[in-house]
Symmetry: C2
Subunit: 152 residues, 2 copies
DNA sequence: TATTGTTATACTCTATAACTATA
DNA sequence: TATAGTTATAGAGTATAACAATA
């Protein structure tokens, strides 16, 4: 009989205690996608948040800052800089809101529309790559289940 | 025939442009879980990262800082403070590594083991709550698909 | 020469308080 | 009085460079 000697140094880390947790896996997956996003969207100078903001403006002409904040879960003070940057780049513009003198309606400019369409195509393409280990059906399921987690 | 008047103000925001993206949904879901985590784990004074680090030490006695970093995707300088805090709280301790004089083997103390077992039970309970809209099968599928996104 | 652990530090992201203009 | 947008600022999170001790 060989005596079992205790081995105080870890060769293979057992990460099952965290890998079984939804929060851990969601965060790791989100960071992995964001990592690829930052690389591939660099030509458009759009971070994930900028892209979400600009894309929502593109598809919702006249949307207000407040609506962007509540949709994306951003705090108003943190949106100001993003909007100003997009405006300085000539991608969006502010117009007087038709019924509320305090608010601005946000609209994509002609250049904004052109660039954002390219950016959206690039975003779809990078998501195809980052989800290359998933079938189309699995990807659809994944998104559906993620929405069930954070929606109400 | 009533004339269709263009409506420049958005009543219902169309967020489909971002809600169809994997990255967006993964990030929103991760933030939702982390939000609940911060509230429910406050009694143990453990943020998500602290919990992951401590839990890995508990289940891998003798693990090194370097191993923790590569497992969790943390940078070494950012781990130092967490380890020191856990040590000052008396939850973990450093011992000389058996074969590498540069490294420390990290071990949970008796108090650490007691607290971390409670914390792990609390983590499982809060994940049950945050995933209450999912069946057991859906939750298992969700975690499996998330791992396929960020692994290799 | 390469690696572990560490310090110092810069940069980004997120959160809070308070102000103005309008509803 | 409440809300939209803004400013200033504090705090948390994340990143790089450089160093001492050991492999």
């Amino acid at each position: 009989m060989t005596k079992t000697v205790p081995e105080p140094c870890i060769n293979e880390v057992d990460a099952s205690c965290v890998e079984t947790l939804l929060g851990y896996n969601a965060r790791r997956a989100a960071l992995a996608v964001i990592d690829v996003f930052l690389q591939r969207m660099a030509p458009y100078k759009l971070r994930p948040v900028d892209f979400s903001v600009a894309s929502l403006i593109l598809h919702n002409p006249g949307i207000t800052s407040r609506q962007l904040c509540s949709t994306l879960g951003i705090l108003p003070p943190n949106l100001v800089g993003m909007i100003n940057t997009l405006e300085k780049r000539g991608l969006i513009g502010k117009r007087a809101h038709p019924s509320d003198g305090r608010a601005n309606g946000l609209h994509a400019s002609a250049e904004g529309i052109t660039l954002l369409r390219q950016a959206e195509a690039a975003a779809l393409a990078l998501e195809d790559d980052v989800a290359s280990n998933l079938t189309a059906s699995e990807r659809k399921t994944l998104i559906r289940l993620l929405r069930k987690v954070y929606q109400d």
